[in-house]
Amino acid sequence: MNSGNSQFERDFESFLSGDDARLEALYRKLPHAEPDARLDSAVHALAQRAVAQPRTHMRTRARWLPVSAAAAVVLIAAGIVLRIGPQMQQRPAALQETAPSATLQSTPAAKMESAPAAKTQSEPAPAPSSPAPAAPAPPPAAAPELRKSEAAPKPAPRAFPAPVATMREAAPAATTDAKSATPAAAAPMRMKRAMTDSAGAQTLAAPAAQDGNVTLYPEHWLANIRQMLRDNQREEALRSLAEFRKRYPDYRLPDDLRDLR
């Protein structure tokens, strides 16, 4: 048995090393199958076609790929700008609604922008954009409609309330000199301010030169006046209330502020 095994191992080793002449010879006698002429010509045609095809085809495509990608990016960017741009212009009123209390203070950018707005206010203001002082109710009434129609599909403005809110917390008492600017007129300014000046929050702590409350809805303005009173800023509160009375002479003040002098 052992000798049989060792004989097999020797034969196997000689087979592996290519010395098994008998088996090799027998294998060579097997039908010598070869591909037929049809196959030969088919393969030759394949090889010829491949060589005949200009290789620049692939290279051209490879060269155009980054160019096409860049063009696509530019087109997409332009599309976004075209799509968002007009919405941004239509948005101020809606933004004012989405974060009404977030606009308590004015950033430096807002101040820069509100100054010319104040000047234009002294001119006969175009009626449609300014809620007349005589009719303080409309803005809040009209606001929900705007909010409904615009709040959902615009992601960009949603990012604004947070930093603006931090602005308010950074300068809770920055509501003094009320100059001119109606809430509606100031709305676009707030919009631009929120968009363009993210660093403005750091400079908000500086006392505001004018009463930022003029840009608020009456209810919020009054709430701020109350807050000033609670913060022992009576003078500022009185000044702000006087400004309020001037702007909203027909507004029925709540009892706690009506007799405040």
């Binding site: 196997f12 087979f15 592996l16 088996l23 006698k29 010598h32 196959l39 090889a47 491949a50 060589v51």
Partner: protein, 183 residues
């Protein structure tokens, strides 16, 4: 094209667009490749299809060819992958035991002859039957060894298995063929 050029140089030349290099390469390899495929799949129509597909893939990949392995090994590797895919698509093959049983049954009357002298033809027929009766992996290893003269390492690389596995497959194949021829 100079016949002294190695297969690898010919392949590189074809990759650069030299069709004559391809023709030389093809003439050198066609028989070996075809027999490897035919003895693996044992069906002429399938062999034709896989043969053409092997060359088609080689042609498509010509620009990616690098002289990291022998050209023959690369070519056979493409064919091997196609053969494996073919077997995966086909129904499961009969196991080795089942094949053995069928072969035993077929050959029983003839092997019963006491004074049978094996003709050359008979030897070849037996070898062919033995090859056909081998499990696919063993047959493939045996054919690669006999047809292309590949060593264990090359067969292992080509089939994606270990050398010991290849050696084991060859050992089983060799034993069965010997047994078959000795009957």
């Amino acid at each position: 094209m100079d016949a002294a050029h190695s297969d690898e140089k010919l392949m590189l030349a074809y990759a650069r667009g030299d069709l004559r290099a391809f023709d030389t390469l093809y003439a050198r390899s066609r028989g070996m490749l075809y027999r490897y495929i035919l003895r693996s799949v044992t069906d002429r129509a399938v062999a034709d299809e896989l043969f053409q597909e092997t060359w088609s893939r080689l042609i498509a990949a010509r620009e990616r060819y690098r002289v990291e392995a022998k050209f023959t090994t690369w070519l056979l590797q493409i064919a091997h992958n196609l053969v494996v895919d073919h077997f995966r698509r086909a129904r499961p093959q009969a196991g080795a035991e089942e094949t053995e049983a069928v072969m035993r049954e077929l050959d029983a009357p003839e092997s019963d002859l006491p004074d049978r002298a094996l003709s050359d033809f008979e030897e070849r027929r037996r070898l062919q039957l033995a090859l056909d009766g081998l499990p696919a992996e063993q047959r493939e290893a045996f054919v690669l060894r006999m047809e292309s003269g590949l060593g264990l390492a090359e067969i292992a690389q080509l089939t994606g298995t270990g050398q010991e596995t290849v050696k084991s497959r060859l050992r089983y194949a060799f034993a069965k063929i010997r047994e078959r021829l000795a009957e």
